[in-house]
Amino acid sequence: MNDDPASCVPRALAGHRDAATALARRAGRVAMPIASIALGGRDAAADVVQDVVVDVLRDLRGLRDPLAFDAWVRRIASRRVVRAARTERLRRSRELPIADDLADGGGESRVLVRMSVADALRRLPARQRVALSLRYAHDLTDAEIADALGCRPGTAASLLSRGREALRADPGLRALVGADTEQEARL
């Protein structure tokens, strides 16, 4: 079914379940990459994204402009993911996808890269992690990331900058990226 928020939001508010389901799918597609990158895997993210979708459907009446649906979902997802990233409850499930990949023999080098990136992201503060996730998940601008995080663009730029700096300094990623990048970072 068409998931255009302009038509689905009024229908979902009128009680049409198919429209609500279409919006739920769309919200899931928006939120999943953010949560998955920030939390280190789709399985770890699934619970959080499910909660995001529930929030979205529950608070749909508060969405003033249906055309801003995706940005609104990103705001909800960012809040949820920051909260989840601050807890250790997801530690176990975060480690599962990598183990699964290894077991499947899905390319050792690729798994190594994934593992290193996930580990490096995991060491970042929650808001830096989510800011970077928003950038890499949806290629958002600083202003869009600021909107999602509910902060000023300068703050978002600062979070991104510090997050990238920390990633460059991460020993695991330095080994993959190479020393040149480190020198470049200093410039």
């Binding site: 928006v30 999943m32 529930v54 890269v113 890499y136 998940a137 990048t181």
Partner: protein, 415 residues
């Protein structure tokens, strides 16, 4: 040289593709729909209560104009009498239960504190402790009396507070003298038909006013383990020590015999059934394991069910060493367990829960270690999926459960 952005984009390629699995979408839509309906009902009830309150205030003002203020008069001049007490019924002695339908089941639950209409408080004579006051109220209501002997109706307590201790006298919220659970906000109360509440009763600190000017922060819900206080025989209120969370075994220690609840991604979470909430979170009836395991009771995963309506849930624990198994049948009756069950899986292959008397269980539910595919009781064989099974109507021979699979065959006798 590899660009950092390129490296991360490559590493997160899988993360960017796709959305939430269909089963989780369906679960989310169902959960959101349930909440929307509840809020609509609450709004309608709120509007009705507001309308009633307006009428009541009008009538009260008229009465006041004729009679002037009297006993039980609030600062605003309202007279509170027995007629203002909320009705109570045959389940809870302090306030009527509400009937809520969840899925195919209808449950009688304590109402949410925030949904209660305005109601007066009851003040007890000096020298009556909080716990004794609750017991006096409980006995009075069981005897069909609204107010215990020697107590009096007084204006309501401040919102959120159910106990006021001032000038050596205890004042209780007439509808929620045992407080309300801080996770879901439901009014707690020892049911009619049970024994009266025993011992020194504790309450969340923020639901008690120790003196009229007690500077306590607002009392939120959605808090799992709030600080609690209890009144000692000396009349002093002291903090209740918080039980330490048990040390969880490590992943390596658990080994391959641990249930993995076969499912990647894991089964979707559901809102915890309200009957379980009542069982689990009303403090005086909560099994100790619920309080001590640090479990996330906001939602559970349904891992098995039976034709007779027995449903086996698993709640997420603090670690893999701790689960809670919650079984619900239509009775209603629930059975639950929580703890480090490694030894059980190693020695018996499964953890079993029995509904009904031990010699004639009307259902048996089990969580098995990995490697078992079917369970047999009394000639009935059911598959084991997600490491779980439920068997209805097991007779006397149901005391022996046989589980089989690649891991071997185990005959488990009821202990």
């Amino acid at each position: 040289m590899i660009d950092l952005d390129d490296l991360i984009r490559e590493a997160t390629e899988d993360d960017r593709a796709g959305g939430l699995p269909d089963e989780r979408i369906a679960a989310a839509v169902a959960r959101a729909g349930t909440r929307r309906r509840r809020r609509r009902v609450a709004r309608i009830a709120g509007a009705a209560a507001a309308g009633t309150a307006v009428v009541a205030v009008g009538v009260t003002l008229s009465v006041l104009a004729l009679t002037g203020p009297g006993p039980g008069t609030s600062g605003e001049g309202r007279v509170w009498t027995e007629a203002d007490l909320l009705p109570w019924g045959d389940v809870y002695p302090f306030v009527n239960a509400v009937r809520e339908r969840h899925g195919s089941e209808t449950y009688e639950l304590g109402p949410r504190y925030r949904d209660l209409p305005p109601h007066p408080a009851i003040r007890f004579p000096a020298g009556v402790s909080y716990s004794d006051a609750v017991r006096r109220m409980w006995r009075a209501r069981n005897a069909g009396r609204a107010v215990p002997p020697g107590a009096e109706i007084v204006p309501p307590l401040p919102a959120g507070r159910v106990v006021l201790v001032a000038d050596g006298r205890v004042t209780l919220d007439s509808a929620a003298p045992e407080g309300y659970d801080t996770l879901y906000g439901r009014v707690a109360g020892t049911a009619i038909g049970n024994a009266p509440p025993k011992g020194d009763l504790s309450l969340p600190r923020c639901q008690v006013l120790l003196g009229a000017d007690d500077p306590v922060a607002p009392c939120p819900t959605a808090v799992r383990h709030p600080p609690r206080i209890v009144e000692r025989s000396t009349g002093d209120w002291v903090d209740v020590p918080i039980a330490p969370t048990p040390v969880a075994p490590t992943e390596a220690e658990l080994g391959p015999l641990t249930p993995s609840f076969a499912g990647a991604p894991p089964l979707p979470r559901e809102e915890i059934p309200p009957f379980i909430v009542r069982e689990a979170d009303v403090d005086n009836t909560a099994p100790a394991e619920f309080r001590n395991c640090g479990l996330d009771l906001a939602s559970v995963r349904l891992v098995a069910s039976s034709a007779a309506g027995v449903r086996l849930y698993v709640a997420d624990g603090v670690d893999r060493g701790h689960w809670v198994f919650v079984l619900v049948n239509g009775a209603p009756r629930s059975v639950s367990a929580c703890g480090d069950l490694r030894a059980t899986f190693l020695t018996r292959g499964a953890h079993l829960e029995y509904g009904g008397p031990p010699s004639h269980p009307h259902f048996i539910a089990g969580i098995t270690a990995d490697g078992y595919t079917s369970a047999t009781v009394d000639g009935i064989t059911v598959p084991i999926e997600h490491n779980a099974f439920v068997i209805d109507g097991a007779g006397r021979s149901g005391i022996v459960v046989t589980i089989t699979g690649p891991a071997g065959t185990r005959r488990i006798r009821q202990p």
